[in-house]
Amino acid sequence: MPSSTSNFKRKLRLPRLFFAKPSEITPRDYERPIPQVPWRGITVIVVLIVIGATSAWEFYCRSIGYGPTLNDNEDLWTMTRRRVKPESVVIIGDSRAWFDVDLDELQKGLGKRPVQLAMGGSCAYPVLADLVHDESFHGTIICSVVPRLFVTPPGAPPMERAEKVVRRFHTQTPAQRASQYLGMPLEEHVAFLKQEELTLDELLKRLPIPNRASALVPPRLPPYFGTLDRERRSRMIEECARSGKLQSTVQQIWLPLFSPPPLPTYIPKDKFMAKMKQATEQRFNDVAAAVQKLRARGGKIVFVRFPLSGELKKLEDRITPRTGIWDRVIKDTAAPGIYYEDFPELSEFNCPESSHLSAGDSVEFSKRLVPHLRKALQL
């Protein structure tokens, strides 16, 4: 007859599975070879070289004008997107809403701190659609309109950029979230951490190597000219706000970026243009439907055309006149719109590099924008 002790042991058998002693499996019979070299000495020298080279690169980057700032990647955007509450004020669109809006001034004027979801070189539609798709959201959207970006077709970089961040918001893994939190303190202190400019890939792209005539080389993006904080508030750096080499470089870079790209050779011109027209019409319809859906559940939206200057303004006015896209958006959505040129107090600003306001002007501009926003939103 088993004793009470043995019964007790039997009851514990299942947990013992997890902590059983090693089985009859025989110990290892395979070991990788280890190269016989003086590992400690080599490691010490490697560590010293890496520290030295990294420090030298950091000093060099600072000496040519770079400063530490956050990178605007999909994880930072996702972090900000998580702050959107059902009644939030949300800013969406392109880099003009990103640089030109001061969150403090809008908070003072609108009573709520806006969530900054605008993004450089991106189309507003995917973010608008995502907010509208979120049934709990019935807040206010301030949407910047840069016509070419607003109607950019699916598959083009401005759409892909916006779709990528929306996708990340819905699929972000705990590991990606952790990497963002770990990376931010580094980015805030190290100047060479610039994912869009000082990576090996970007440095190689800048090599002055002549190309074949037919090579498809995307236009260059502007160099570092703004900083970003954890709320994704972007501010132009002083060096760009002043006349000088950086300012004129950025001015020159915008022109090819905002010019229509060459037509593809693999599709007849008329067929391509018809396809583009169809995509643009589709965008107008999608935006109108999204706005209607938002309003149906009590949400509000206001479209804003932010200031621009110089050659870029001439270019945009020529290829995307107000009567083309802006008027159509306002008409189709029946939503309020604020076109900076309609108001003297908004149109007297000068964009130093043609496309964005300086950090100081963005505060004053936001202050002047608030009454128009309040009126448009009937606050």
Binding site: L17, F18, F19, A20, K21, P22, S23, I25, T26, P27, R28, D29, Y30, E31, R32, P33, I34, P35, Q36, V37, W39, R40, G41, I42, T43, I45, V46, I49, V50, A53, T54, W57, T173, P174, A175, Q176, A178, S179, L182, G183, L186, L193, Q195, L198, T199, L200, D201, L203, L204, I209, N211, R212, S214, A215, L216, V217, P264, T265, Y266, I267
Partner: protein
């Protein structure tokens, strides 16, 4: 969790420090189990439960196989294990693919059927850990492995984080013996592990993602016709990218395991210096090819059957090998192409193996070049998302678009040319050797400089990198 992420750097530093601080071997193994599940759960926590349930089932079935009396009973328990593992894989990986093909088949018969789209999220690395786990019951059945009595040890063998999500496919029979006694660190083992991790990350982040992936993506996504030069460069870029991506992951896994005192076998052995396709599969994804050889090809009869039957077996194995990589017919065609290559090679060997000229240097080089070209052609089907793209690429490669577009920049051409040329040279130089021997023979200053340059290049890429290609498998 990606090896090329800041989270992993912190995670690995904490795990290694805690691991070597502990004296108890059981405590260390417990730590590794917890760490492995955190590593896996950092992608999608609920799928940790799926991983555990698969593992626990195979642990139990392994014990049943060992205890079963009689061949039929043993076989029944094995079939239960195979069905459980493959149905899990089938549901998550092939569910929608099977439904689509079923719909297509019915449509051919004139029946209109609209299947529901199953919104199934593929658990990362399911193809790998299913094979880790399955190898256990298969080896217990074959009598080459005693079942372990410790569920914890088996859980660790399946989920050991360095090899969990993208291989190598480490068989339980290779890993469980390493859990019997605590590992010691031989002189230089930890630092050699770190160097291997640096090399793996360099291959992935710098060579695959920075130097090659952009060009490969541009060529394969270009909607128009391309000239032969650009088409071939795009395919060569992808051939290099997938090697550096996957071999880089494997080297990282081997290095991380070494830092923890474990020894994983090579998964790649300079495959682009292969002479012939059987040689290629002895060098490429070795853990998968040996898995398929031992558990599928040999049970089907292997070479011990009539030549025609052996050829059919080869094609079946490669067909399934292709399907293992992804639920798409393009992967199947890739597998079938490799199956055909292997059959053709066997036929050629029958006629020419003993010829004197077959073994001279020029012939071997030519055969090596032909192998590389044929493998690259097969990669077109692996990379292309559909047959339209694959057909367009192949047409471009074989001169079908003489007036097509030439879109690559000079920088991209140089990057592909230099990286691929260096890769092939290194593969040929080391084809009969291994990396450990090479490092031992190299001058110390060169090892030091190479390690430092790789580390600096990784830092310079700033983690702006993609997920490993093999994660999706």
């Amino acid at each position: 969790m990606l090896f090329n992420s800041l989270t992993f750097v912190v995670f690995f530093a904490i795990v290694v420090t805690a691991y070597w601080s502990m004296r108890s071997w059981n405590a260390r193994k417990n730590l590794l189990v917890v760490a492995s599940y955190i590593f896996y759960g950092a992608w999608n926590p609920p799928f940790g439960a799926l991983l555990f349930s698969t593992t626990a089932m195979d642990f139990w079935l392994g014990a049943r196989i060992a205890k079963a009396k009689g061949r039929h009973a043993r076989r029944a328990w094995l079939i239960a294990s195979v069905c459980m593992n493959l149905s899990m894989l089938g549901f998550f990986k092939y569910g929608n693919f099977l439904l689509q093909n079923f719909q297509w088949l019915l449509a051919r018969l004139g029946i209109i059927y609209q299947p529901p789209h199953l919104d199934i999220l593929l658990p990362v690395g399911i193809s790998f850990y299913t094979f880790h786990s399955l190898s256990y019951t298969l080896d217990v059945y074959r009598g080459v492995l005693q079942p372990t009595k410790s569920l914890r040890d088996f859980v660790l063998a399946v989920s050991f984080f360095p090899q969990l999500v993208a291989g190598p496919i480490v068989r339980a029979g290779d890993f469980l013996p390493q859990l019997v006694t605590p590992p010691g660190l031989r002189a230089g083992q930890f630092l050699w592990g770190l160097l291997l991790m640096t090399l793996g990350l360099f291959e992935k982040i710098v060579l695959a993602d920075t130097m090659l992936s952009g060009s490969a993506d541009r060529i394969f996504s270009y909607p128009g016709p391309l000239v032969a030069f650009d088409s071939w460069l795009g395919v060569m870029a992808f051939a290099g990218q997938i090697f550096f991506d996957f071999a880089g992951y494997s080297i990282c896994a081997i290095g991380a395991a070494l830092c923890l005192g474990f020894h994983l076998k090579d998964n790649f052995r300079f495959p682009y210096a292969a002479i012939g396709f059987s040689d290629f599969w002895r060098r490429w994804h070795i853990s998968l090819s040996t898995f398929l050889r031992d558990y599928l090809y040999i049970p089907l009869g292997g070479n011990q059957v009539r030549p025609v039957r052996a050829a059919i077996n080869l094609v079946i194995v490669m067909f399934l090998g292709g399907l293992w990589h992804g639920a798409a017919w393009t992967f199947v065609v890739w597998g079938l192409l490799h199956g055909s290559y292997l059959v053709i090679e066997r036929v050629i060997r029958v006629f020419f193996e003993d010829a004197a000229w077959a073994n001279n240097v020029a012939t071997r080089l030519l055969a090596g070049f032909a192998t590389y070209a044929a493998v690259s052609i097969a990669w077109v089907f692996f990379r292309a998302s559909d047959f339209t793209i694959a057909t367009r690429m192949l047409r471009g490669m074989f001169g079908g678009h003489p007036h097509g577009d030439a879109i690559l920049s000079t920088r991209e051409i140089l990057q592909i040319g230099i990286v691929i040329a260096c890769m092939i040279l290194v593969h040929w130089a080391l084809r009969e050797s291994n990396i450990e021997t090479a490092v031992t023979r190299l001058p110390r200053w060169l090892v030091t400089t190479a390690w430092a340059v790789m580390a600096c290049a990784i830092i310079l890429t700033q983690g702006s990198s993609n997920a490993f290609i093999y994660f999706q498998f």
